[in-house]
């Protein structure tokens, strides 16, 4: 069954990848995926039913991602929310040879060096998961509800710059969404246009 889903999503991703992929809509089921993380463990989204899940598109070379990590902001979010039972998956969809691409061991070393504490780090070198979500930028974040529905998609915050000084001044959409979700309140901002670098997918 799992394998079937995986093949289906792979096929879907290939077909969609040829044209512009359609983004999953807020309130609709978040596309399922099965992929191996940098520690060799299988990550199957549907296994996390019952928990809030964050997908974070990541590139260690992108100034907009560096802005969040250099200030310790992203690590703080990861620590705060994984501490409250949220599953945080950082995903690198860079193709081999392109910006943001690393080997699994280098990726782990980078995460350790930066003090990043996601639940798992995923290399999506074929871009399968990225295309499923029509992820376009790093950083770009998705919040998925315990019932598997997409609850937030878009930018990390409202300061659309690469300036580290903007981090403390910004309204963080992801923190706001997770705080509301955990408190059982409605999420006010559910959709924003992401900002940042272009994800360096494999050439179609």
């Amino acid at each position: 069954m799992v394998q079937k889903t995986f093949i289906a999503s792979l096929l879907l991703a290939t077909t969609l990848g040829l044209r512009r992929a359609a983004a999953p809509a807020i309130g609709q089921p978040a596309p399922d995926f099965t992929i191996t993380d940098t520690r060799g463990k299988t990550q199957h989204l549907a296994d996390y039913r019952g928990k809030w899940v964050v997908l974070e598109w990541f590139s260690h070379a992108c100034p907009y991602t560096i802005k969040q990590y250099a200030t310790g902001n992203m690590q703080r979010l990861q620590r705060t929310y994984t501490g409250q039972g949220v599953v945080w998956l950082s995903i690198v969809s860079s193709a081999p040879g392109r910006e943001g691409f690393t080997t699994a061991s280098k990726a782990n070393a980078l995460a350790t060096e930066k003090g990043a504490v996601p639940s798992a780090l995923i290399r999506d070198t074929a871009g399968t998961v990225g295309h499923l979500y029509d992820a376009r930028n790093t950083p770009q974040l998705f919040v998925i509800s315990p019932t598997g529905l997409l609850a937030y998609a878009g930018a990390i915050d409202d300061k659309r710059t690469a300036d580290t000084a903007d981090v403390p001044k910004a309204h963080n959409y992801v923190a706001a969404a997770l705080d509301a979700a955990i408190a059982g309140k409605p999420i006010v901002v559910q959709l924003t246009q992401p900002y940042g670098c272009t994800i360096q997918y494999a050439e179609q």
Binding site: C62, P63, I66, R136, V188, Q190, T192, Q193, C197
Partner: protein, 688 residues
């Protein structure tokens, strides 16, 4: 006289200089400076709205107290395509003009720190310091002055007086129009939105030009929430002289402009009319097939068991309170919902757990009517004499509340226009309209109490009452069957199996109640029966509450041979851009009025032949299960409830016409003829 001593570091992809330019045309004191970027080939920096990636350069300045610098000005950008993304920015070289003013003519130094992100495919954040030594009284060197003057020429002009701009939303497109005496030779080169998340940056901007009007067609951003109140940006035009000019533009998006005729009419109707209409719609709910059985049951209970006027009043009040409360609740949710795209009247039917819950309720009520169990027997004895009155009031309240919840989709045909008005009115008025609707729905029942004469209509009780009561169980079972069918469309067969099993469990639980939890049973037997049935019913309720949507709305295949395609924003756009008239049918399996129109009108021979003959594009927007993009489209055409029929004329511009909610072949045929006749006129006009 100007010095820019910064030396580019080797890793940089841009060399930045601050240079001095010409005096500002409308001022003798102010002068233009320029922040110049020379970029490595292949690399670019960004406009103020960077598009789908990147961010604009920023600068901080230190300068003598008597001097001041304005904000960075943005020359018109170009599109930088990195499929599927589109950025707005500059390649090779760009100069950002900055307005400089000084009091006094002494020599001074401006120091600046400039930060920017330069991208090719990958992006790099860079920064550098710039410096300019300036004597305001002295003229600038010829070469730099010319460079800055060219950049100033590329700045957008403020909107010329005499331009009238407005925008509206049509399907997934945003149509912006500018009225001004342009002349025949004007051509639209591009449009750049000032803010991200409003229009799709990568979508092609299509435009039409008539002598006094430019119309731009843009695609709404997939990241857009609600339609903004105004869209600002830059329109780039050229004329006979081939000089490219850009203008700052601002298009108000009017509430009236974004809606169809029905919305406009309702919105302009005064509030009193709105409240009256809402009341009348509420009255009509009582005769709708969805609610009628419930009303019958209540009237029956009133005539049979209650003799004291005070108790009658109490029940009538409870019923009215129930119907007002649930109508106010729906109204409140609709009015306050942060994302109007996700809700609309009757849309609680999109939730399978709601459907399942109502099915359990109706089924249980049916069993109660058949005498499987007695409600008063369930209450502890110490409630004593009050029991009957209390349960009856609670029951009346619940009946009133349920009547609205179930009746809502049936009421849509009558309430649709009123509702569109209520949603566009100020919140207080909108809320009052919902309360008024609830009052209307409760009125006939309350009449029985208030007017003594009407009580004479209530038949005397007798043996027939028992027969009538049991007969009324069957419409309830019928409604249950219909709800199971709708739930199956949403959840697939496993979901409907769970619902059917839950119905069985509820029947079992209620049977246990009726068998052992009777007034005459011993307390221990009663308690055991109550506990056992609570457990069984609890399991049923939990399993119903866990029903989730698992199947997409079924594609509608019709037997008429007409090709109805499932609605997507892209399909609507492609049909419209092919200059075809398009009929969008917003429908759902749980919408009975929709089905009546479909079978009675849309599949009738005359309608089918006119639709085929005029090659009208047919899109079916199915809302059986929740769908954000379709709901957004429904709001965009000016609809608020189902059914909504939006007919787009073949001529390109303008809002769709909303057809009446109850269709007849005559209405559809004449509307289609008009919508396609307009296109012929346009075709004749256009060669001019």
């Amino acid at each position: 006289m100007a010095v820019a001593p910064s030396v580019a570091q080797p890793a940089h992809h841009a060399v930045v200089r601050l240079i001095s330019g010409p005096t500002v045309a409308d001022s003798s004191h102010d002068r233009w400076l320029g922040l110049e970027f020379k970029l490595t080939p292949g690399w670019h920096v960004y406009w103020r709205n960077p598009g789908d990636a990147g961010s604009p350069p920023t600068a901080t300045w230190t300068l003598p107290a008597a001097w001041s610098l304005g904000a960075i000005q943005w020359p018109r950008p170009r599109r930088i395509e990195v499929p599927p993304l589109t950025a707005f920015g500059y390649e090779e070289r760009v100069v950002f003009p900055i307005r400089f003013s000084s009091r006094g003519a002494d020599r001074g130094i401006i120091r600046g720190h400039v930060s920017w992100v330069a991208c090719r495919l990958e992006c790099v954040a860079e920064d550098d310091s710039v410096m300019l030594v300036l004597t305001p009284a002295e003229p600038t060197s010829g070469r730099d002055e010319r460079v800055v003057a060219d950049a100033v020429d590329r700045l957008p002009t403020t909107t010329p007086a005499g331009w009238t701009m407005r925008g509206e939303s049509v399907g997934t497109s945003i149509v912006l129009s500018v009225h001004a005496p342009f002349g025949d030779d004007v051509r639209v080169l591009d449009f750049f939105p000032a803010d991200p998340g409003v229009v799709e940056h990568s979508a092609r901007v299509t435009s039409t030009v008539k002598r006094d009007r430019i119309t731009l067609r843009l695609v709404r951003s997939q990241y857009a929430n609600a339609l903004p109140e105004r869209i600002t940006g830059l329109v780039v035009l050229t004329g006979r002289d081939s000089i490219i000019r850009s203008y700052d533009v601002e298009f108000p998006i009017g509430a009236a402009a974004s809606g169809g005729d029905a919305t406009r009419r309702a919105a302009s109707a005064n509030w009193a009319t709105l409240l009256l209409l809402a009341f009348a719609s509420g009255l009509l709910v009582n005769v709708m097939p969805c609610v009628f059985p419930l009303l019958g049951i209540k009237a029956l209970s009133l005539s049979s068991t209650v003799t004291r006027p005070s108790e009658r009043s109490l029940r009538a009040l409870a019923y009215a309170a129930g119907s007002i409360a649930s109508s106010a609740l729906i109204g409140g949710i609709l009015l306050l919902s942060s994302d109007p795209a996700r809700s609309a009247w009757g849309f609680q039917m999109q939730s399978p757990s709601f459907l399942g819950g109502v099915a359990l309720l109706l089924f249980g009520a049916g069993l109660s009517l058949l005498g499987v169990f007695e409600v008063p027997a369930l209450f502890p004895r110490w409630l004593g004499a009050r029991t009957d009155g209390l349960t009856a009031s609670v029951g009346s309240f619940a009946a009133g509340a349920t009547a609205i919840l179930i009746g809502a989709p049936c009421a849509a045909p009558f309430f649709g226009v009123t509702l569109a008005g209520a949603l566009t009115a100020p919140h207080a008025v909108g809320f009052a309209a919902f309360v008024s609707f609830g009052l209307g729905a409760a009125a006939p029942f309350a009449m029985l109490v208030v007017t003594p004469a009407s009580i004479a209509w209530i038949p005397r009780s007798g043996r027939w009452m028992e027969t009538a009561k049991q007969l009324l169980a069957f419409p309830l079972f019928g409604a249950t069957a219909w709800l199971v069918w709708v739930a199956q469309l949403q959840t697939g067969s496993s979901g409907s199996a769970a619902l059917l099993a839950s119905l069985c469990a509820v029947a079992f639980a209620l049977w246990m109640l009726g068998r052992w939890a009777t007034v005459s049973a011993s307390p221990s037997v009663r308690r055991a029966a109550l506990a056992a049935s609570a457990v069984v019913a609890g399991v049923a309720i939990v399993s119903v509450s866990r029903l989730t949507v698992s199947s997409r709305a079924p594609a509608n295949t019709s037997s008429t041979g007409l090709h109805w395609q499932a609605y997507t924003d892209a399909r609507l756009d492609s049909l419209l851009s092919a200059s075809r008239a398009v009929l969008v049918d917003f429908t759902a399996e749980w919408c009975l009025t929709c089905k009546v129109n479909e079978i009675g009108t849309l599949q009738s021979e005359r309608v089918v032949s006119v639709l085929r003959e005029r090659s009208v594009g047919l899109l079916r927007a199915n809302l059986t299960v929740a769908d954000t993009s379709i709901t957004r489209a429904l709001h965009a055409v000016g609809g608020a409830s189902l059914p909504t029929y939006a007919l787009f004329a073949a001529a390109e511009r303008g809002s769709p016409r909303l057809l009446p909610i109850l269709l007849t072949p005559d209405i559809v045929v004449s509307a289609v003829e008009r919508a396609t006749a307009a296109s012929r006129t346009t075709v004749l006009e256009s060669p001019r």
